[in-house]
């Protein structure tokens, strides 16, 4: 006969076997993950790396200047002009390369600005709470009720189309989305005991935000940065395509498609190349974000 003690249930009743979010070795785990990352993630990584290199060294790679007129209008593909020339006789390849710097650079700048504004407002709302939170959240709800493209068009009409107004308008509009995420993620952390301890210790708001809350919501924010970048990039390209984004003579992929679209009706695919460049980068970033999300959340595909 066994004593009841032999049948005592296992004491190991730890709640869930989910990986803990604040592993110290997360960065190493990420590197480890990178080694066995799927092909799609590698594909995304390589694409992003190539774009960054081209953007940084545009002036070294491009055979001609950004706005330099080097031939007659719409020259075909030749050895001198690998992708022909555009509607003003500028080298298409060179403009494509400079476009990487302008289009991607401005989209990156805008997204960073959006994260600065939306992220800090969201974190403040989450940590401070009360009426500040309520007022901000309601204001953002209303801003989000209007489609971004329409809002951007209206504001660009009011302020006029320049790079500064383009970047600030889109950054502010996009900050609303960032705000939502940062607030929701920050809320979960703001109720943690260690934040309370920091408060009792008398730490200031900035310290709590940057040292206690921010590090713990970084992974979703990084993933969101990738997705927002894609969105901003597509929005700016669309606006440029519509003729109200980046203004000439800046080489920009959206307006390059617009300026040379006439060639398509003659069966020439050159005007599609900048559009393809936009699509390729977006696909690459999407793949990368997809993998990063799966890697940091420990979640697998929904299936």
């Amino acid at each position: 006969m066994s004593t009841p003690a032999d049948h005592s249930p296992p004491l190991n009743i730890a709640p869930a076997d989910r990986p803990h979010r604040q592993d110290p070795g997360r960065f190493r785990a990420l590197l480890e993950g990178l080694r066995r990352a799927p092909v799609s993630a590698w594909f995304g990584l390589v694409i992003v790396a190539i774009y960054v290199l081209v953007a940084l060294f545009a002036s070294l790679i491009a055979p001609y200047g950004e706005g330099q007129v080097v031939g007659s209008q719409f020259d075909p593909w030749t050895a001198q002009h690998l992708l022909g020339t555009d509607n003003l006789g500028r080298d298409t390849l060179s403009r494509l390369i400079y476009g990487a710097r302008n289009t991607v650079g401005i989209a990156f700048l805008t997204t960073s600005l959006a994260f600065l504004i939306g992220g800090s407002a969201g974190l403040v709302a989450a940590v401070v709470g009360g009426w500040v939170d309520q007022a901000l959240a309601r204001l953002i709800d209303i801003l989000m009720a209007v489609p971004q493209l329409i809002f951007a068009l209206l504001l660009l009409t009011i302020f006029g189309a320049s790079v500064t107004s383009l970047v600030s308008i889109i950054a502010v509009l996009d900050a609303t989305r960032v705000f939502r995420l940062a607030r929701a993620a920050g809320m979960n952390i703001a109720v943690m005991d260690y934040v309370e301890v920091a408060r009792l210790r008398g730490e200031g708001l900035i310290w709590i935000l940057s040292r206690e809350v921010l590090p713990n919501i970084l992974p979703p924010l990084v993933a969101e940065f990738g997705l927002r970048f894609c969105f901003v990039f597509l929005l700016i390209s669309s606006l440029s395509f519509l003729g109200i984004g980046l203004q000439p003579p800046t080489a920009d992929w959206g307006s390059m498609v617009r300026d040379n679209a006439i060639l398509i009706t003659y069966g020439d695919i050159t005007p599609l190349l900048p559009a393809a460049a936009i699509a390729l980068l977006t696909v690459g970033v999407n793949f990368l974000v997809d993998w990063f999300l799966r890697e940091t959340s420990g979640l697998d595909d929904e299936t």
């Binding site: 489609p147 068009l153 395509f241």
Partner: protein
């Protein structure tokens, strides 16, 4: 009962409130413009007396709140003011074009909704199969494409190489319905491709998330076939999120129309808005953005109301 109508009325009231605030935003934004409509029309060199007289004529010398009430009253009675560029009544400019835009969006919706629901259902049914993974990869790629890229690819294949459809959808008055339909095929197809990817993925996700519920487990244990489970047990319960996604995508369609109209030179509201933005014709832009915003808000409100109405759990207060 009684709970649902109350919730719906609450939601409608919120929608009207949002619309009101949006109108306020649009009005104030334009009013804060450095230099006002009068100087825009008369030019910088106009005499101060002329500007003052003109401002009086336009009612710009009245206080801000009175002007807002006038503007709002005009809106509600269909008077949207006059274009700065050519002095024509904005309501007249917009009238016909709004019809064209709704026609295009309507055709695109007729294509995209059935196709994406069917694809979503099929990929959920055969999830993990080659077909599912292929569809997923294609739609994920497709979502990343800018609208004008999709549009020009279609023009390249169906218009330039095959010669089946025109690359410019210039509609004229008096075109027969069949001819209009023919003209709008390529733009509608572009919009369809753009929204189908999203709608289909969301449908699939909605069905799959329901498949994790205990009652599906129960149905499985009872020995019901996979197909019957999905169509009779999972689909009705996934209906609310699916309806929501469909309506939100329709709202997106209305906005996505802007770029597509420009590519195909289609005489719709989006084209008018872009032209007016370039001319800085503020009264027209104001009216167009209000219409787009209102459509978007109304459709979203409609989605919420449908979600409430199709959720039987809400019939009983907690």
């Amino acid at each position: 009962m009684g709970n649902i109508p109350k919730l719906i009325i609450k939601r409608l009231a919120l929608g009207v409130f949002v619309l009101w605030v949006v109108s306020l935003f649009i009005f104030l934004g334009v009013s804060l413009l450095p230099g006002d409509v009068a100087t825009e029309i008369l030019g910088q060199s106009a005499l101060p007396e002329t500007v003052a007289a003109f401002r009086h004529e336009l009612g710009l010398d009245l206080p801000l709140h009175i002007r807002y009430v006038h503007w709002l009253g005009g809106l509600l009675t269909g008077d949207l003011g006059h274009s700065l560029a050519n002095g024509r009544a904005v309501s007249q400019l917009i009238g016909e074009r709004l019809g064209n835009t709704l026609f295009l969006a309507g055709v695109a919706a007729c294509f995209s909704v059935p196709v994406s629901l069917l694809l979503g259902l099929l990929t959920a049914l055969y999830r993990g199969s080659v077909f599912d993974r292929f569809t997923n990869a294609v739609t994920l790629t497709w979502i990343s494409f800018p609208e004008f890229f999709v549009a020009y690819i279609l023009i390249m294949f169906f218009s330039v190489q095959a010669g089946w459809f025109p690359s410019l959808s210039t509609m004229r008055e008096g075109d027969s319905f069949a001819h209009s339909l023919y003209l709008v095929t390529l733009p509608a197809l572009t919009l369809t491709l753009v929204v189908t990817a999203h709608m289909m993925r969301m449908t699939r996700a909605a069905i799959i998330s329901v498949l994790g519920s205990p009652f599906i487990e129960m149905a499985k244990l009872k020995g019901i076939g996979q197909r019957r489970i999905i169509v009779w047990h999972a689909l009705p319960n996934a209906l609310a999120p699916i309806i929501n996604v469909v309506v939100i995508d329709l709202a997106y369609l209305i906005v996505g129309v802007v770029v597509v109209e420009v590519v195909f030179v289609y005489p719709g509201l989006g084209q008018l808005m872009i032209d007016s933005v370039q001319r800085r014709d503020i009264t027209v832009v104001q009216a167009c953005s209000l219409i787009f915003a209102a459509t978007y808000v109304l459709l979203n409100m409609f989605a919420d109301v449908l979600a409430i109405a199709t959720n039987p759990r809400l019939m009983y207060p907690k």
